[in-house]
Symmetry: C2
Subunit: 241 residues, 2 copies
DNA sequence: CGAGAGGTTGAGCAATCTCAACGGGGGTGG
DNA sequence: CCACCCCCGTTGAGATTGCTCAACCTCTCG
């Protein structure tokens, strides 16, 4: 607990937590900080866990805290009053969330799988940000990437067919998991989540996956494991240049 | 030209350019910098103009420069190979664009109206950013807002009906122009641009606007001027809480 | 073994798209 | 100065993608 662990094991996780909460992506965050900064950064965080399905925060709530995901997957979404839902992203270990510069969260966040995260009081985090320009630069880079991803998703939602959406989605997941062509991809999220991410219904997602399976573009093992025999072929379907 | 103008007149525009290039939104950028910083910032910029329809840069080109829009409107868009287009945003005076942390632009930018902008070499701007933490914080705030707007747009594209999309769009424009309920809104962009922004066809945009006019939700003066007699009513149509 | 949740498949439907015709305004050339 | 053309926007009719509603299946958990 109080003993002086090597810095890397305490990063992003709070000093009292073991190193199994940090993975390779965490290191990317921490590479921009020196030892002393890492220590202060860690000291500012507490940790939290969520079971799958539990909500971290709701859109509209006061944005008092921000989080760094260290394990598992979280989905972000927005709702219309009648319950229609749009999932705006799936976060994995190493991602930040809740950094609202306004007063309230602009989306809801819910655990897809069991999740561990680091929790920062908003004011504390903003102070750290001022003290550590490298961290701020890193966050700006992250925001910039997220924005690019959001624009890619707008293209998908506004202009792609159901088949193109699914192909794009599978390729994105495959690249994120850094698997080779022969290794399968794990979806982790439900059909309902996929549908709400791609702007479709669960029936259309199901049907489209079945069609792609029949065409040989993918193979399914259970509902969650997907083999992509030929990524280039899928890329063609996805409508990517 | 070389004379020492008051600082505010030179901001974001390059020292050699008159103050009519700056509007209230520019001041928001500059409020975070002190006099000396403003001077250096201005000195780093050159200016450019574009006619309506001219392209500033294309997606995929090396991102060597970044820009600050001082007058007019620019649209950002992405294309699929077969020509389907998604407009991801309309920028107005005070907005930044082209700040890519990757090597290439991730979208194309084209003038909607005649446009003036300040141009920064990428490397120069990044250096300024390092020297001026306030500027970096400001950019992070902007990126954060843009991200929130992008997520709102994903909700629109993924889950809203044509009528809801148009209502949302008109309200957003109205709020951006800060007009009262009785003042009309100027669209500036073509039906084709609106369609590609909302993930619809021009025919659907046209039909939906006509229907809304028949219902009394809006009134049209020409193709570009829109009166919104009751924003609250439009907000109900838009499906906003 | 029954119940419930999540997923698949089918049939019909509806919102939106496609294709096509038409109209008005502005610029241009005779 | 006027006729023409072209671009943009509107409207109509039919086609189509994806949605809705419903049945059924499978797996898990009590």
């Amino acid at each position: 607990m109080g003993q002086s662990d090597p810095v890397m094991t305490t990063v992003c996780c709070g000093a009292q937590v073991a190193c199994d909460q940090c993975d390779a992506r965490d290191l990317a965050v921490c590479a921009v900080l020196d030892e002393d900064e890492l220590r202060r950064f860690s000291a500012a965080a507490t940790t939290a866990r969520l079971e799958a399905g539990q909500t971290l925060f709701h859109e509209g709530e006061p944005a008092d805290e921000m989080f760094s995901l260290t394990e598992g997957m979280i989905k972000l979404y927005k709702l219309l009053q009648d319950g229609r839902r749009q999932i705006t992203g799936f976060l994995v270990a190493g991602d930040f969330l809740g950094l609202a510069f306004g007063r309230t969260y602009v989306y809801s966040a819910e655990a897809v799988t069991p999740v561990r995260l680091c929790r920062f009081r908003r004011a504390v985090f903003l102070r750290l940000l001022e003290e550590m320009p490298h961290l701020e630069r890193n966050l700006l880079g992250r925001a910039s990437s997220e924005l690019a991803a959001a624009q890619e998703q707008m293209l998908l939602l506004g202009r792609k067919t159901a088949r193109e959406r699914l192909a794009t989605f599978l390729l994105t997941i495959a690249e994120r998991q850094r698997r080779t062509d022969s290794e399968p991809v794990d979806l982790l999220m439900s059909r309902s989540d996929i549908a709400d991410y791609l702007g479709l219904t669960i029936e259309t997602v199901s049907r489209t996956l079945s069609t792609m399976r029949r065409l040989g573009a993918i193979a399914l093992d259970g509902t969650s494991r997907v083999y992509i025999p030929d990524r280039e072929a899928l890329r063609t379907i996805a409508g990517v240049g």
